[in-house]
């Protein structure tokens, strides 16, 4: 069982994502943005940071990286893909997920431990959570305001594709307090907060994020 973790120029959280993958019990495989090669992995994490300096828009340039062509093709064949923070922005720009992220409503870079509710525990990345579970993971971004057309948001809500919702404070003005969403199959998930920073009480607010990386092991084994 191998999970690829992509590194773009400007990625920050690839090491933590790889550590989370290993902690969950899988092998983490580094993937390079310039290589059109997924090295045979079973799933892919697109981690956070500032790919290509976020020039133009967050994720706009990364979407065209050679490795993303392979990710888009593999996602179409059902391979689980997780986008975290900048990775979520990349998946939106690549049209693997609907919507876009805009500058936070409060204009500040927000970095804090954030409470989330798991709204859908049937996706490839959330099956280890109980439905409605509340978890705490760090959020850290300035372009985190999830935005989509009202009809798209209505569709996401109706189909249960809002996977995570901010509880308590909405840190960035996201529509409907949306923190994370999935594609129609539940194999592709994106979220702004950082589960990979919450896998160990020594280095984060707890272990609440580890369930996402354990979930995908189950999803791949049962696929």
């Amino acid at each position: 069982m191998t999970v690829g973790v992509i590194t773009f120029p400007g990625t920050l959280d690839d090491e933590d994502a790889a550590r989370a993958v290993r902690r969950a019990g899988a092998e983490a495989v580094p993937l390079w943005h310039g290589d059109a090669d997924l090295r045979g992995v079973d799933a892919v994490v697109v981690p956070g940071g500032f790919s290509y300096g976020d020039y133009l828009r967050a994720g706009a340039i990364a979407r065209f990286a050679p490795v993303m062509t392979e990710v888009i093709a593999a996602a179409g064949r059902g391979m689980p893909v997780l986008g975290i923070c900048n990775g979520f922005q990349v998946l939106c720009e690549a049209h693997l997920l609907p919507g876009a992220m805009l500058r936070n409503a409060g204009l500040h870079f927000v970095c804090r431990d954030q409470r989330l509710r798991v709204e859908n525990s049937a996706t490839a990345w959330t099956s280890h959570y109980t439905p409605g579970a509340e978890i705490v993971v760090p959020v850290k971004n300035i372009d985190g305001r999830y935005t989509a057309s009202q009809s798209t948001v209505d569709e996401l809500e109706a189909e249960g594709r809002v996977v995570f919702r901010y509880v308590g404070t909405n840190p960035n003005g996201s529509m409907n307090d949306i923190a994370g969403i999935s594609d129609p199959t539940g194999r592709i998930v994106g979220l702004m907060p950082h589960p990979e920073h919450a896998i160990d009480a020594l280095t984060g607010p707890g272990e609440d994020g580890l369930g996402m990386f354990r979930s995908v092991l189950t999803a791949v084994v049962s696929a």
Binding site: P98, A100, L102, A148, G173
Partner: protein
């Protein structure tokens, strides 16, 4: 060779907190009467004559703007 300008603006219904921050700063600098500010992006492209309007629209829609949140206008300013 032609100079092409592409202006990209947040859609009218999209909250623009950066523009609002600029609008709020103006009275503090003594400028009264500015009711609203919207902030966008302005691109200047120098293109060969072989680049037609259809291609320019694809460039504006496919990379320079994100149609989910932004509108764009393409103008040829010299030719």
């Amino acid at each position: 060779m032609a100079r092409v300008v592409v202006d990209v603006m947040p859609k009218p219904e999209i909250l623009d907190p950066q523009g609002q921050a600029v609008a709020r700063a103006l009275p503090r600098l003594g400028f009264a009467g500015v009711r609203d500010v919207r902030q966008g992006k302005h691109f200047e492209l120098d293109v060969d004559d072989s680049v037609d309007d259809e291609t320019l629209a694809k460039i504006a829609e496919g990379l320079l703007s994100n149609p989910v949140i932004e509108d764009f206008v393409v103008r040829r300013v010299t030719s």
